[in-house]
C-alpha cells in the first residue's frame, strides 16, 4: 500500500447552525483545503460522511452536492453512512483510494445538521442504529443502552458517579480552550454532583447517567485533505502520516455479547491499527475517544489498550488523561463538550489530532505530540474504526 498523509484539516464551530447542510460541509472543506494549500493541484475525489441527512434534512447524494458547491468537478464523489462511525469510515475509504493509487488527493468531509428536529425526534433518529427487532421496537435509545452499560461497568469495576463526573469536568475544561467546541462552559464536581442543587443542575437522563454524562446534540462539519507521498513532498507544513487504520465489528444487539463490558470491536480495531502502524498504545502521546457518554471514555481507554480492563477510572483519578497528564484524552473537549454532529464526529477527531501533531492546537496543545490515536465508535460498539496518526520529519 502507498503511504497516505493528511495535508490539511478544518472544521466549523459545532453547535446550532443556521446554515444549510451543504453550506456547513463546504465551509469546513474550504478551511481544510486552505490549510492544505494545494495551489493548482487538483482534488481527485470527495467523500462525505453523514448519518441522517436523508431523514432529517431530506437530502441525499451529498458527495455530488459538495463537489458542485466547491466546483471540484470532475472529482469522484460519494457519501458514506456508517452510523456514528461514518466519519472515520469515510476517512478509511479516502485512505484506500490514495493507498491503492486510484487518487492522489481526496477531500473527506463529515457533516451533520440534526438540530433541525426536536430532541425526541433526534433521539429517535439516532436510535434507528439499534437492532430493529430486539432493541428499537422496545424503545431502546442510545442513552438507555449507555445507562445499562454504565451500570454493568460500575457494578463490576467499582466505577462511581464521581468518575463519570470527572470525565465531564475534564472535557468541559478542555472545551473552554477550543473555539470550535459546542459547549465552552466549565463545570465542577460541586455543581454537577455533590451540591444539593446538583439534582436540578444535572438531572437524570438514563440512570446512572445524568445530563452532564451525555453529549449535546450538535450541528457541524469537519474535513481533512488526504494526499499521496508524491503530493505531500510538494507541500509545506509538517507531514502527518496515516500510520494505521483498523476496523472491527461486534454483534448488533448488545445483549448477545458474551461480556457486554468488553468493547471487543474497540479492542480489535485498535490492535489492527497499532499493528499496521508498528506501534503500541504506550507510544501514543494524545488520543481522541468517542465519549458520547462519559462512561465510554473510560471503557474505550481500556479497550484501546491504554489501561488495563477495569482500570481506566483509576488512571482518570490519577490525572493521567488530563491535558497535562501522561496521556491526554480528548483535548478538544471530546464529544461530551466539543459536540457530536454524528456524521462529522469521526472526521473532527482526526482534525483535532492533525492540529495537535502539527503543533497548531493553540491553548490546548499537547507538548511535543508525535503519535496520536482516535476511536470512532459506531452503533453501540458494533462497528468501530481506530486510527493512528504519526507526525513525520520533513
Amino acid at each position: 500500500m502507498k503511504p497516505v498523509y493528511i495535508a490539511g484539516a478544518g472544521m466549523t464551530k459545532f453547535g446550532r447552525a443556521e446554515w444549510s447542510l451543504i453550506r456547513l460541509a463546504s465551509e469546513a472543506s474550504r478551511s481544510a483545503l486552505h490549510h492544505a494549500a494545494l495551489g493548482e493541484i487538483p482534488v481527485d475525489g470527495v467523500i462525505v460522511a453523514n448519518m441522517g441527512a436523508a431523514r432529517v434534512n431530506k437530502q441525499t447524494a451529498l458527495g455530488s452536492a459538495l463537489v458542485d458547491q466547491l466546483a471540484l468537478y470532475p472529482a469522484m464523489a460519494e457519501a458514506v453512512e456508517n452510523g456514528p462511525a461514518s466519519g472515520a469510515s469515510a476517512f478509511k475509504v479516502g485512505c484506500q483510494a490514495i493507498a491503492s493509487g486510484m487518487a492522489d488527493v481526496v477531500l473527506v468531509t463529515g457533516v451533520e445538521r440534526m438540530r433541525v428536529v426536536n430532541g425526541l425526534e433526534g433521539t429517535d433518529f439516532v436510535a434507528s442504529l439499534s437492532h430493529p427487532e430486539v432493541e428499537y421496537i422496545y424503545g431502546v435509545t442510545l442513552p438507555s443502552l449507555a445507562g445499562m452499560f454504565a451500570r454493568l461497568v460500575m457494578d463490576r469495576f467499582g466505577v462511581e458517579r464521581k468518575h463519570l463526573a470527572m470525565v465531564a469536568i475534564k472535557n468541559h475544561l478542555n472545551a473552554t480552550r477550543n473555539p470550535y467546541a459546542h459547549i465552552q462552559q466549565a463545570v465542577t464536581m460541586e455543581g454537577i454532583l455533590t451540591a444539593p442543587e446538583a439534582i436540578v443542575n444535572n438531572p437524570p437522563i438514563a440512570e446512572p447517567l445524568h445530563m452532564f454524562d451525555c453529549c449535546p446534540v450538535s450541528d457541524g462539519a469537519a474535513a481533512v485533505v488526504l494526499v499521496s507521498e508524491e503530493i505531500i513532498s510538494k507541500l509545506a507544513g509538517p507531514p502527518v502520516r496515516v500510520a494505521g487504520i483498523g476496523q472491527a465489528t461486534d454483534t448488533h444487539a448488545v445483549h448477545e455479547r458474551e461480556d457486554p463490558t468488553d468493547l471487543k470491536a474497540v479492542r480489535l480495531a485498535s490492535e489492527k491499527a497499532f499493528s499496521m502502524a508498528g506501534l503500541t498504545p504506550a507510544d501514543v502521546d494524545v488520543a481522541e475517544l468517542h465519549d458520547a457518554f462519559t462512561i465510554l471514555e473510560i471503557a474505550e481507554s481500556e479497550a484501546a489498550g491504554f489501561f488495563g480492563h477495569g482500570e481506566g477510572h483509576l488512571a482518570l483519578e490519577r490525572g493521567e488523561t488530563a491535558l497535562d497528564g501522561r496521556l491526554p484524552i480528548n483535548p478538544s473537549g471530546g464529544l461530551k463538550a466539543k459536540g457530536h454532529p454524528v456524521g462529522a464526529t469521526g472526521v473532527a477527531q482526526l482534525v483535532e489530532l492533525t492540529w495537535q501533531l502539527r503543533g497548531e492546537a493553540e491553548g490546548r496543545q499537547v507538548k511535543d505530540a508525535e503519535i496520536a490515536y482516535a476511536c470512532n465508535f459506531g452503533g453501540f460498539g458494533n462497528n468501530v474504526v481506530a486510527t493512528v496518526l504519526r507526525r513525520e520529519a520533513r
Binding site: R30, T188, E190, G191, N201
Partner: protein, 231 residues
C-alpha cells in the same frame, strides 16, 4: 409613597399587599453561586438597559420576550400594571437572568416572562422555579397561569413540571390558551426542579446588592450565539 395627584392615582391599578421574596442562593453546575432576589422599582431602569439589545435578537424568540418584558417592567416602574413582581438572578452581582409575573387575585398567579442572559447553566429553569416558589410558597396561591413563547420554554415548563391545560382561559400574553401549574403539581416537582438555600450568607447578599450589567460581548455570546462557521 410620595404624594401623587388625584389623576395619577386614578390611573394606577389598585394594589394588593404582596409578601417580599426572601433571597436565596443556588450553586450552578459551574460551581458559581447565583443569588436570586427581588428587584425593586428603582432598579428597573438597569434591567431595561440589559434587555434593550435583545429586542432584535430573533434566536429562540428573544425579541418577542425582550419586547414584552420591556413593556411589563416599564409598566411596573410607572405603576401601570397590577400586582407585578420581578426577580433577578445575580452571579457576583452580574445579571444572569430575570423573571416576572403578577397576582391575578389571592388564589391565582400569572407568570409573565423568563429571560436568561447567562445560558447553558439552567439559569432560566432555576429562575422560573423561583417564580413558582414565590406564587405558591410565599403568596400562598393555588395555581399559576403560564404560557410559553418559545419551544425551549415549552420544554422547560409544560413538559418538565408537567403543566395542565387550562385552554378556556386566555393568558394575558397575547390571548394564548393558558396552561396551569396547580399547587399540588408544584410540590411534586419541587424536589427535582426547585433549588436554593436560605439564608444567603451576608457576603454573598452584599455582592448582589447592586445589579451589574454583563458585558455586551458576553450577552451576544450567551444569548445570540456565536457567529457560526468560524473556521
Amino acid at each position: 409613597m410620595a404624594h401623587i395627584s388625584e389623576l395619577e392615582a386614578s390611573l394606577r391599578p389598585p394594589a394588593m399587599e404582596m409578601p417580599p421574596y426572601p433571597p436565596k442562593v443556588i450553586t450552578l453546575a459551574s460551581g458559581e453561586k447565583m443569588v436570586v432576589r427581588q428587584v425593586e422599582r428603582d432598579e428597573i431602569p438597569t434591567l431595561l438597559e440589559a434587555i434593550y439589545p435583545l429586542l432584535w435578537v430573533e434566536r429562540d424568540f428573544y425579541d418577542i420576550v425582550a419586547a414584552r418584558l420591556f413593556g411589563e417592567l416599564l409598566a411596573y416602574k410607572r405603576y401601570r400594571v397590577k400586582d407585578e413582581y420581578v426577580l433577578a438572578g445575580l452571579i457576583d452581582g452580574v445579571l444572569a437572568g430575570m423573571v416576572n409575573g403578577r397576582l391575578v387575585d389571592a388564589k391565582t398567579g400569572m407568570s409573565y416572562h423568563t429571560l436568561t442572559i447567562r445560558r447553558g447553566l439552567r439559569v432560566g429553569s432555576h429562575l422560573f422555579a423561583a417564580k413558582m416558589e414565590y406564587h405558591v410558597e410565599h403568596c400562598g396561591q393555588e395555581e399559576i397561569l403560564i404560557v410559553a413563547e418559545s419551544p425551549i420554554g415549552f420544554r422547560r415548563w409544560m413538559i418538565e413540571y408537567p403543566l395542565e391545560k387550562r385552554f378556556e382561559v386566555q393568558h394575558e400574553l397575547g390571548g394564548v390558551p393558558s396552561w396551569v401549574l396547580p399547587k399540588e403539581t408544584y410540590y411534586k416537582a419541587k424536589p427535582r426542579l426547585v433549588a436554593g438555600t436560605r439564608p444567603v450568607p451576608e457576603e454573598l447578599l452584599a455582592s448582589a446588592e447592586t445589579i451589574v450589567l454583563p458585558e455586551e460581548e458576553l450577552v451576544v455570546r450567551q444569548v445570540a450565539g456565536e457567529k457560526e462557521g468560524e473556521t
